[in-house]
């Protein structure tokens, strides 16, 4: 059984087709990089896989279950309970400290504050962030903020982590540190990862790369 799968997905924004029959299957624990030129549909595909967008045609499956036919409310619960997200710039909540940001998915899932913070703290050592627990996002460097965002994406032990250009706002060395930690943490946790990037050096961290071109997935890339 695949962990995350799109089957012949089509989606248009108004008159403009973004996906024209895209299919991709990601195995449990696999890290897949979705590459492609800008405007190719790679982020749209990620948003469909993550249940954020619903395709016009085609199916999205997670863990053997079809999710594109679920109501918006049920998809929202699924995203909160089972998925983690990392975006280009951390998108941390500026009013919260770093550890509160990491604990946020647990707090939203109803975990008590003390227990959520206890769960969040080990991630600071794992991601080389020790000592930064009480800082707010404005007091963190880009690389630190992105590692906090990564901890937040993984803290609830999601079934799948969706990352959209997670190193896009970082310099190349910092970006590589974030990728290194993302891959190590995901492998330790057995988390399935779908990663969108236009950067081949970032994609090279993945187990497998696929290319989206003109709204379709080119699976030829299996070197």
């Amino acid at each position: 059984m695949t962990a995350v799968e799109a089957r012949d997905v089509k989606l248009s924004f108004g008159e403009t087709p973004a996906l024209r029959g895209a299919s991709v299957a990601v195995e449990p624990g696999e890290i897949v990089a979705v590459m492609g030129p800008s405007g190719s549909g790679k982020s749209t595909l990620l948003h469909c896989l993550a249940g954020i967008l619903v395709p016009d045609v085609g199916e999205i499956h997670f863990d053997g279950r079809r999710i594109d036919t679920l109501s918006e409310t049920r998809r929202s619960v699924l995203r909160r309970d089972r998925f983690g997200f990392v975006f280009q710039s951390g998108q941390l909540v500026p009013e919260l400290t770093a550890e509160e940001n990491v604990a946020l998915p647990l707090l939203l899932n109803g975990v008590k504050r003390a227990a959520a913070l206890k769960e969040a703290r080990p991630w600071f050592e794992r991601l080389d962030l020790t000592g930064l627990e009480r800082r707010r996002s404005g007091e963190l460097s880009g690389g630190q903020a992105q590692r906090v965002a990564l901890a937040r994406g993984l803290v609830a032990r999601p079934g799948a982590l969706f990352a959209d250009e997670p190193t896009g706002a970082l310099d190349s060395l910092t970006g590589e540190q974030v990728m290194d930690l993302l891959v190590s943490s995901a492998r330790e946790e057995g988390t399935t990862v779908v990663l969108v990037t236009h950067d081949a050096r970032v994609a090279a961290y993945a187990d497998r790369q696929v290319i989206v071109r003109d709204g379709k997935v080119n699976a030829l890339v299996a070197a």
Binding site: A200, R201, V221
Partner: protein, 170 residues
Amino acid sequence: MTLLGLLDREPSHGYDLKRDYDAFFSRGKPLPFGQVYATLSRLARDGKIVIGEVEPGVGPERKRYVITERGATEVESWLTEPVPAEPNLQTVLFTKVVLALMLGRPAEDYLDRQRAAHLGRMKELTEIKRSGTLVDAMLADHGLFHLEADLHWIDTTAARLDALAKEVRG
């Protein structure tokens, strides 16, 4: 391989081959006649080309070289096969694309295969970087940056294949 590829278009004389080679592939360093004829005799010796009719005329006789089945097969497989992904491949990547377009072969398929070979090698180098010493990482980085540059070139070329085909086919 480039001369053999040019002969896969049509039978040709040494002089014409040199002229076409210089026009498309020499990049400012014309091919010496000596090298053209040495290569042609080696190709003939290996059964990849034969000497067709000899055209008498003023001055030296002009030999017409014709590609054999064996030579054509070799060109075909060379054009579809990705190069092992190592740094500094510009010349050979460029030659494969231009020759494929001249011969009406699917250059895009070749570029896809080459892209896959490059990404595969980048993955290996990244693994070396993650598991090795800093020295290993520095060496791997050197390879990665070069392969990344090739990939940019592959993507840009793929986007311009139609225009490039028109130019090289005249």
